[in-house]
């Protein structure tokens, strides 16, 4: 008996005397969210380090005799001489469906007061983007619910489409509309019980925004019933630069979980201009050499490695990215805008002039492009809206010439009239995305001349009236358009008949 106990005691003694090895360093300076540490001779690049009081940081600059760490937490607790330890881990955030409907900070901690996050898995914040072999080309559509975009600048699942424009031109609104539209599609698709239906989950990353704006966005998503399909990652303006720098990468990690597990996700980075500014601040404090506009040399790589993580994977899911860039006075040739334009697969350019003219969303059709999305556009949209972009471009050109005189031939007048009607038709209020089948009906009505002869100011209301009529009386027809996703003669005849019925009731 005593021998058995002695054996157990020996085992306990072995355990309790096991020494834990830690590699340590000492803080030499702390400034603006960055701590310089001497020691930490075995620290790895991007490794998490532990400061006293449970504060963590990331080793970003490995110099010969000093390590520069960004502090992710309360810097005021730290002082010169404090001990810092390596952890041997990369920074990770919780991932999974438990995050849906929740708002988290850049480290994945809940900030919405709804209790802890129900998650068992964690993904590293920094991860190398999928390679060539793992990818598949973009061929499935991602509907934004915005007519001007879905018909002329279509987006596919796995695409990176930049939303660019001056402040107050409706960039965030487009992103929020897209998230709301995914939620609307998800609800219909999941209710239909179609086993092939693939819901799109959304991640909204708010970088350097006012807390009031983030609250407003969450409220808009909640009101539209989209929050249950959305994860909010917030690094508001009050957060330190390190958290603002990390937030998009944390969001990408959360999105990657959906993609890796055979699901589709959409991620909105709002916005990458502020992200670049936060990174510039960190880099300047770390005394990295600065380049154009004082940004560090690797600011392009910062955004390219982030956006490359959006992909469509072969045999798995997809991650679609909608980065947002804010321009100054419409200057798309500035450093950060040109960088992100060259990284992404197209851009939606929003113009202040259009916005002020009441054309909302203020999408500049001439400057906007989608490089891969047309491959993902469904046939019905191509059939009804294939020529719209050209017609609108022609209209803009003619409208510019028409300003010089009123003596125009009948053909030009007709083109101008049609262009004006297209512009009116594409006007759409915020937070009210339109389903793809209703978009098809609305544009089909344009092609068949149902808006001709109507006062220009009433075109938007007429289109809304058509949509209401179809929703109320021709639900089966709308389902048929959605499921067939192409117009045949039979379907065309049915739509014409329904439009005639609408015309007779509204005559």
């Amino acid at each position: 008996m005593s021998t058995v106990l002695a054996q157990i005691e020996q085992q306990i003694a072995k355990l309790s005397s096991a020494a834990v090895r830690k590699n340590t360093g000492v803080i030499t300076t702390v400034a603006d969210g960055v701590a310089k540490v001497s020691g930490l001779s075995e620290v790895m690049y991007n490794e998490m380090v532990a400061f006293p009081g449970g504060v963590i940081g990331i080793a970003l600059n490995l110099a010969e005799d000093e390590v520069g760490c960004v502090v992710l937490g309360d810097v005021s607790q730290l002082k010169q001489g404090d001990e810092v330890q390596t952890t041997g881990k990369l920074l990770s955030v919780p991932v999974g469906k438990g995050l849906l409907g929740r708002a988290v900070d850049a480290l994945g901690n809940a900030i919405d007061g709804k209790g802890p996050i129900a998650s068992t898995e964690a993904y590293p914040v920094e991860k190398i983007a999928p390679g060539i072999m793992a990818r598949k080309s973009v061929s499935q559509p991602l509907f934004t619910g915005i007519q001007a975009i879905d018909s002329m600048i279509p987006i596919g699942r796995g695409q990176r489409e930049l939303i660019i424009g001056d402040r107050g031109t409706g960039k965030t609104t487009i992103a929020i509309d897209t998230i709301i539209n995914q939620a609307n599609i998800n609800r219909v698709g999941l209710a239909s019980g179609d086993p092939k239906f693939r819901p799109v989950y959304s991640i909204y990353v708010a970088i350097g925004q006012k807390n009031s704006n983030i609250v407003r966005t969450i409220a808009a998503l909640e009101a539209a019933g989209a929050l249950e399909f959305t994860v909010i990652v917030a690094a508001p303006a009050a957060d330190n630069a390190a958290n603002q720098y990390l937030a998009p990468f944390s969001g990408a990690a959360i999105g990657e979980w959906f993609m890796e597990n055979g699901m589709d996700a959409l991620i909105v980075y709002d916005d990458l201009s502020k992200h670049a500014v936060a990174y510039r601040q960190i880099s300047l404090i770390l005394k990295r050499p600065s380049g154009r506009e004082a940004y560090p040399g690797d600011v392009f790589y910062l955004h390219s490695r982030l956006l490359e993580r959006a992909a469509r994977l072969d045999g798995k899911g997809s991650l679609t990215a909608l980065p947002i860039i804010e321009t100054l006075a419409g200057d798309v040739s500035a450093y950060i805008p040109t960088n992100v334009i060259s990284i992404t697969d197209g851009q939606i350019f929003l113009e202040t002039d259009l916005f002020n003219q009441g054309i909302r969303p203020a999408v500049s059709v001439g400057l906007s492009v989608s490089r891969v999305g047309s491959a993902a556009q469904i046939k019905v949209t191509k059939q009804v809206g294939g020529k719209l972009k050209g017609e609108l471009a022609q209209f803009r050109e003619l409208a510019a010439f028409a300003q010089f005189g009123s003596d125009l031939d009948a053909k030009t007048k007709a083109q101008l009239d049609r262009g004006s009607r297209i512009v009116e038709l594409f006007k759409q209020p915020a937070f009210s995305p339109i389903s793809i089948e209703l978009q098809a009906v609305t544009i089909f009505a344009l092609q068949k001349g149902y808006y001709d002869g109507i006062d220009l100011k009433k075109v938007t209301a007429t289109a809304a009236s058509i949509r209401e009529f179809f929703k109320a009386r021709h639900d089966a027809l709308l389902t048929e358009i959605r499921t067939k996703a192409a117009l045949d003669k039979d379907l065309e005849a049915k739509i014409v008949a329904a439009l005639d019925a609408w015309k007779s009731t509204n005559a």
């Binding site: 020494a19 834990v20 090895r21 830690k22 590699n23 340590t24 020691g39 532990a50």
Partner: protein, 131 residues
């Protein structure tokens, strides 16, 4: 004060290399280096000396283990620690004992940037940070 230049840093590195014999700091070599610096003072001598002092202190810390302990430690235990560390780091290591009642029980060994934690206080801290 202007930043220490890369040239000065390389110079200090050279001085440190000259101060070592078989990878260990030699007092004769250090005396020689100091005499040379006195005779041929470089620009910003004080900054060079401060950096040299820091580098030599770091070199010395690689061969000197500080053993913090709560309660008595037998001299044999200290020699065993010195032998084990010497084997691990591939150089002769000396130990200095320093009582630290805050550890509650056990020892903590510090050598250069590495800390070997085998104290009750350390284990309690690890438990607290894990929860």
């Amino acid at each position: 004060m202007a930043a220490f230049s890369a040239k000065s840093r390389a110079f200090v590195k050279q001085l440190v290399q000259l101060s070592l014999i078989d990878g260990r700091v030699s007092s004769e070599q250090v005396a020689g280096v100091l005499a040379y610096l006195e005779k041929n003072p470089p620009a910003r001598l004080q900054a060079v000396l401060l950096a040299y002092h820091k580098a030599i202190a770091a070199e010395l810390a690689k061969s000197e283990a500080r053993v913090e302990h709560a309660g008595p430690v037998a001299p044999e235990a200290l020699s065993a620690i010195a032998a084990a560390l010497g084997k691990r780091y591939g150089r002769a290591v000396t130990t200095t004992a320093k009582p630290n009642p805050a550890l509650l029980a056990g020892i903590r060994v510090r050598i250069a940037d590495d800390v070997y934690e085998s104290s009750v206080a350390g284990q309690l801290q690890a438990l607290a940070s894990a929860s």
